[in-house]
C-alpha cells in the first residue's frame, strides 16, 4: 500500500461521507430506482470516480487497477448503491468502442456515456444462452443498412437503454461463430420493442428485446461483417474482477444483517447458530481474499485461464449459502413478503436475497459452465467429444 493509495482512499472516503445517498434502499418503484441511479452516476462522474478504468484523457480516467480497487472497496464498504444502470455503458460499451470501434464511433459515443447515455447488451437469445454462438437473430444487408429481425433476452435494463450492443447473424454458413456481426443499435429505431422480464422476486432488472425489420446503418457496424464473435469477446472481457471484489466486500459488510437476524431470533447463545455464523463469516472472508488475489494476479499479469471462473463460482455459492442462512434464521418472519430493493443482493429481505442470488449462479455463465471451464481448462480433464450422435429419448 503506497502513500498515494492511502491518500486516494482517504479522499474517496471523505467524498462518500459527504455525497453518497443514504436512502437508496427505500426506493421501491422502478422509476425512483432509475432516477436514483442516474443522479448517483452523475455525482460520481462529477467527482471523477465513475470511470477510473478509462484512459487518462477522460475525467477521472487513467487509474491503475490498484486504484480502481480502492475506489470500489470504499464504495462497497460505505454501502453505496451499486452502479447497475451505467454498468454496461461504462464497461461493456466502453471496451468495445475503445478496442474495436472506429475513431468516429468512439468520439461520438464515449462523451455521451459520461453524460448519462445508457447502453444495453443484445447478445443472449431464447435458444442461445450458455451456448452464445447459437445466435439466430438475422441481419440482412440491403444497401447501406442491415435489416435485423429476431429476439434478444436477459438484456440488463434494456427498457431504460438508449443504445444496444447487438450481436446478429449475417451468415448461416461455416462454423457458427463465423457468421456473426456486431452492430451498435439505437433503441429508438422503428421495429425495436422492449418488454421487461418480471422476475420472481419482483425485480425487473432484465428485458427482452424484439427486433422486427429494424434498419441499422452499416456505419454502425463494429469490425468487419462476420467478425462479430471476436468483437463480442472484447465486450465480454471488459470486466472480470472488480465487480466480484466489490460484491464480496458488500457481502462481508452485510454480515451485519445476519447478526441482526441472530439477534431477532433470540439465538445469540445458540452454539449451533454461532457455529454456522462463524463458519460462514470465515467463508465470506475467504471469498474476499480470493477476489483480492485474483485482482492482484491481473495486476501482476499472472492470470490463468479459469481463475475468473473460480472467483465467480466461489462467490455465487457463498452468496447462496449467505442467503440460505438468513432465510433459516428469519424463519416464519422471513417469509413475509416485503418490497425489494432493486439490485441489492444483501438487503436482509432474505427471500428476495435468496432469489436474487440465482442471478449469480445462472447469469453470466452458469455455475455449470464455470465448472466445465475449471475442469477442462484448468485441471486438464478431457472435453466431451463434439461429434455427439444424440439418441432419441426413451
Amino acid at each position: 500500500m503506497t502513500q498515494e493509495d492511502d491518500a486516494l482512499r482517504r479522499e474517496i472516503r471523505d467524498w462518500i461521507a459527504r455525497e453518497a445517498p443514504r436512502d437508496w434502499r427505500t426506493a421501491s418503484t422502478h422509476e425512483a430506482f432509475v432516477a436514483s441511479q442516474r443522479s448517483w452516476f452523475a455525482k460520481l462522474v462529477g467527482a471523477g470516480y465513475a470511470v477510473p478504468h478509462w484512459p487518462r484523457e477522460w475525467p477521472g480516467g487513467g487509474r491503475s487497477l490498484a486504484e480502481q480497487k480502492i475506489i470500489y472497496e470504499e464504495l462497497a464498504r460505505a454501502d453505496t448503491p451499486r452502479l447497475l444502470l451505467s454498468f454496461v455503458s461504462t464497461y461493456h460499451a466502453f471496451a468495445t468502442l475503445a478496442e474495436c470501434a472506429s475513431a468516429q464511433q468512439r468520439s461520438h459515443y464515449l462523451p455521451r456515456i459520461l453524460e448519462g447515455e445508457t447502453w444495453c447488451q443484445g447478445f443472449s437469445e431464447p435458444g442461445a444462452g450458455s451456448d452464445l454462438a447459437a445466435i439466430r437473430s438475422r441481419a440482412e444487408r440491403r444497401g447501406d443498412v442491415y435489416v435485423v429481425s429476431g429476439q434478444k433476452v436477459w438484456s440488463t435494463m434494456a427498457q431504460y437503454a438508449d443504445m444496444c450492443l447487438l450481436l446478429v447473424r449475417t451468415s448461416a454458413d461455416g462454423p457458427k461463430q463465423a457468421g456473426l456481426t456486431y452492430l451498435l443499435m439505437d433503441m429508438r429505431l422503428p421495429g425495436v420493442s422492449v418488454r421487461p422480464i418480471h422476475q420472481i422476486q419482483g425485480d425487473e432488472e432484465f428485458a427482452e428485446i424484439f427486433l422486427d425489420e429494424v434498419e441499422i446503418p452499416v456505419s454502425q457496424r463494429v469490425g468487419e461483417e462476420g467478425a462479430g464473435w471476436a468483437v463480442a469477446q472484447a465486450t465480454l472481457a471488459s470486466e472480470r474482477g472488480l465487480t466480484l471484489m466489490e460484491l464480496s466486500y458488500r457481502m462481508r459488510g452485510a454480515m451485519l444483517r445476519l447478526s441482526e437476524a441472530v439477534h431477532a431470533a433470540g439465538r445469540t447463545c445458540d452454539a449451533g447458530v454461532l457455529r454456522k455464523l462463524g463458519a460462514l463469516a470465515t467463508r465470506v472472508d475467504a471469498v474476499c481474499a480470493l477476489a483480492d488475489r485474483f485482482l492482484q494476479k491481473r495486476m501482476d499479469e499472472d492470470e490463468r485461464v479459469g481463475d475468473a471462473s473460480i472467483v465467480k463460482l466461489a462467490y455465487s455459492r457463498c452468496l447462496r449459502a449467505w442467503t440460505n442462512l438468513g432465510v433459516e434464521l428469519a424463519d416464519l418472519a422471513g417469509q413475509m413478503h416485503a418490497p425489494i430493493t432493486f439490485g441489492d443482493l444483501n438487503s436482509g429481505n432474505w427471500m428476495a436475497d435468496f432469489m436474487n442470488s440465482y442471478a449469480w449462479t445462472i447469469a453470466g455463465g452458469s455455475d455449470e459452465v464455470q465448472r466445465n471451464i475449471i475442469a477442462e481448462r484448468m485441471l486438464g480433464m478431457p472435453r466431451e467429444p463434439k461429434n455427439w450422435i444424440t439418441e432419441a429419448r426413451p
Partner: protein
Amino acid sequence: MSALRRELEDNARKVFPDWQAAQDAEGSWAQMAELGWFMAGVPEALGGLGLERRDLAVIFTEMGRARMPGPALAQFLALEALVQAPDVPGREELLENAMAGAAITTSLTIAGDGLSAVPDADTASQILVRSADEVALVGLAGAKITPFPTWDGSRRLFSVEPAPDAPRIPLAAGAEAAALTERLDGLLCLGLAGDALGGAEAVLAMAIEYLGTRRQFDRPLAMFQALKHRAADLKVALETATALYEASSEAAPLALGAMKAHCCEVYKQVAEEAVQFHGGIGLTVEYPVHLFLKRAFLNRTLGGSAAFWNESAGDAVLERTSAG
C-alpha cells in the same frame, strides 16, 4: 398402496391434475368438498368416511402436488378436533357443516406460537385455538385480523386476535387439551410433510421435463451427466422422505415433527435445484417453478422449524439410548 388409497389418489388427480387446475381457491374448495375430503377422517358413525390417517396422508400429498390454495389443512385440523371432542354440545351440526365445507381455520404454526399464520382468517367464521390448557372454537366476528402476506402467494395468511367477548366453544381442557393439541400439531406436521412431498414430486418432474426439452451445445440438457447425477440425488432424497412419510402417519407427535422437518428440507432442496436446472427462465414469473420454490420455503417455517424439531429429536435420541 391399498386400493382405497389408490382410488383417493386417482380421483384427486382427475380433479386436480396439476397446479393450474387448483388455482382458483373457491372452486378448488368446492371440489375438495365434493371429493369428500373433509369427510375422509371423520368416523362413519359421525357421517364421515372413516378413513385412517394414512389415507389422509394421500390427500395431503395431492394438495402439495396441486399447490392447493386455501385453508384446507386448517380445516382438517378443525375436523379432527371435533372428532376428538365427543361431549361438545352442537358437535354434530358443527361437524356436518365442516364436512360440507364451512371453513374453520386455525394457525399453521405449532401450538404455543400464538395465532399467527392463520389461513383465510378473513373469510372463516371460526378459528380453532390450540394450547396446552384449552382447545376451543372461537368466533371471528370482531376479531383483529392482520394480513401476513408471504412470498408464497398460494396461501393467504393472517395474524388473528379474537375479540375479547368472542363466542367460545371449549373442546378440551387440562390434560385432555394438552393431549389433543399434541395430536393436532402432529396432524399439522403430517399435512405439511405430505404437501412438501407432493410439491417436490411435481417440481422435480417439471425440472426433468424441462431438461429433456431444452437444448444447449446441440444436445438436451438432460444428457449432461452432472445434471443427471444431481437429478438422481434429488430422486433418492424424495423417495427416502416419501418412505418415511408413508411409515409415519400414526407416529408420535415428536416423530411427526422430525419427519416434517426432514420432508420440508427435501422439498426446499428439490425446489432450489429445480430453479437452477431451469436457468434463466426459472427466474421469470411466467414460468411456474418459482411457485413451488416459494411454497417450499413457507412450508419449512410452518408447523415448527427444522431447528426446533431436530433439536427435540436429538434430545429424544439421547433419552432413548440412555434409558436402554
